[in-house]
Amino acid sequence: MAAPLGLHLEFGGGAELLFDGVKNHHVTLPDQSNPWDMKQLLAWIRGNMLKERPELFMQGDTVRPGILVLINDADWELMGELDYQLQDKDNVVFISTLHGG
């Protein structure tokens, strides 16, 4: 049984527009039997935070290509991407590099 996770999420480069224009969010993920990974976090964001046009943020069960993800200020490609297991107080950043973002 994992304890609730407190995360700091940040959206930038225009991605914040899909979240009411708010860049910084402190969220608490509910208890669940398995540890939270990035894939589950993205599904949770889609269900609980995204205000509009989910296709501009997500594609399938990952982020849309052109949106960069940093976990604790490092490239998520180095951290296992969707398989990364989130820890309490992790800092996750989403930055859009797209013009039409």
Binding site: G12, G13, G14, E16, L17, L18, R53, L56, Q59, R64, P65, G66, L68, L70, D73, A74, D75, E77, L78, M79, G80, V93, I95, T97, L98, H99, G100, G101
Partner: protein, 530 residues
Amino acid sequence: MCQVEEDYNGLECNQEKIPVSGLNRKCMKCKEGTAVLIIRVSDAFCRSCFKEYFIHKFRAMLGKNRVIFPQEKVLLAVSGGAASCTMLSQVQEGLSRDAPKKLRFMPGIVYIDDGGACGRSEDERQTSISQLKNIFTQTGFPYFIVPLEKVFSLPTSVLVPGTSDPDPSNPCYKQAVDKYLKEKQKLREEEAVCAVAQLNLEDSAYLPEHKLALQRLFSSLKTLSAKQEMLQTLRSLKQVEVEEMVGFHFWHNVSVPWHLYWYRQHLILHVARENSYSKVMMGESCSRLAVKLLSNIALGRGAALASDTGFSDPRFGDVVIVRPMRDYSSKEITFYNRMFHVPSVFIPGLDTKSHDKASIQRLTESFVTNLQADFPSTVSTIYRTSEKLHTVRPPQSQSTEPEPASKCLLCLCALDTTADKASAFHATLISEQLSQLRLQEGSVDLVAGSSDQCCVEDQTCGTSGCCSSKRTPVQQDLKTLLCYSCRLTVKDMAAVNTLPPYILTEAEKRQRRSQMKVEISEYLLEEDQD
């Protein structure tokens, strides 16, 4: 039909994504630091090696190309976005360095506020501007903030290329460097910096009628009428199959981004000329340029690809555009800005949150980004194509001083519409002729009739001579002065006479001149080019 044919060369096999393995990877460069990001296909870099690599690349790009002379005035076009703000930070970094690698040019900044075309409120525009001013002021460089509304008071001269060498005493890079080194003793550097920092020009005031004119300009593109027409055609068809084939989206506002792009370019050029800047730096990254190259191909800009995407772009003659950020991917830029706290301002534009099919540019961006996710060498492959291209010069422009009439009125590139009869351009003209024979016969009346609408509804026509002088059919006239691609842009507009006066006036001038040339042609000797 099967398109595999002989042109298949199996390159695809090499392009698939290489999985990046392992957590806690080490930096590939120093082999010590913990990697924080992956660039190119799978190169892992630590923070400090990445910084060094990033900074080195900027100077290497300028060093390799040797087009910016010491003491030259260089205008940095900053949009507020990540790439142009990094460019600004790299220039600051380069100027603050110790010799000998120090950059030695004199920078200024220009920002074009196009909020008026993107439907932003006055307050929103002012907020962005004050954020930008903060960034600009901290650099100590002179800056210019220009609202897009100013296109309605541009002079026609921005549409004429200048002579390419403004200063004959600077014939080549090496001599310029030597000269600089000699003069260096005399001219103390602090003085130079002080002299530069004087001017902070903010000319953000514009006339209210220009604001309206701008709104009209951007709402004049075909939309509703086209939709109605389409609906009615679809109703007349029985077969679902045919409906599908004919296509649902017949017209879109596909030309909006281009329009805006050229007005912005013209304003930047004007600011550069007015303040004797001879170079303009644009912050286009390789990710952006790959999208631009591909979308420009789709827009029919093949002949201009080299100028549109190359390191240096000489189309304006006296003011040369350079693109020093073209070796950086948008990922590198985003990471650099985040890690090293480079401030940027997100300013929503026309494209923001738009649908994939809102424009050719948007469609291409999403295509390239998606392909890049599966084939990580996509962007760099497209980008390398741009390095192998150059602009074809049509035979008539080989004379020493190019006649402005041989350049496109809007984009100032060489006209690509003189191609021979066996060409896509002529095939299109023929298709149009063959589909509207009757209309063709009566076309003079029709076109002239519609162009008179300019002043009907008591609209303000700005300061131009819109209502004066007998006007010839604008769209017809304009077409002959534009390159293939810009013809398409103008074709998408419902009312050509909402175009800013500098364009219409210059068009009339060129038209009169070519008419005159026809009239006197029998007295001209063949050799006389002008």
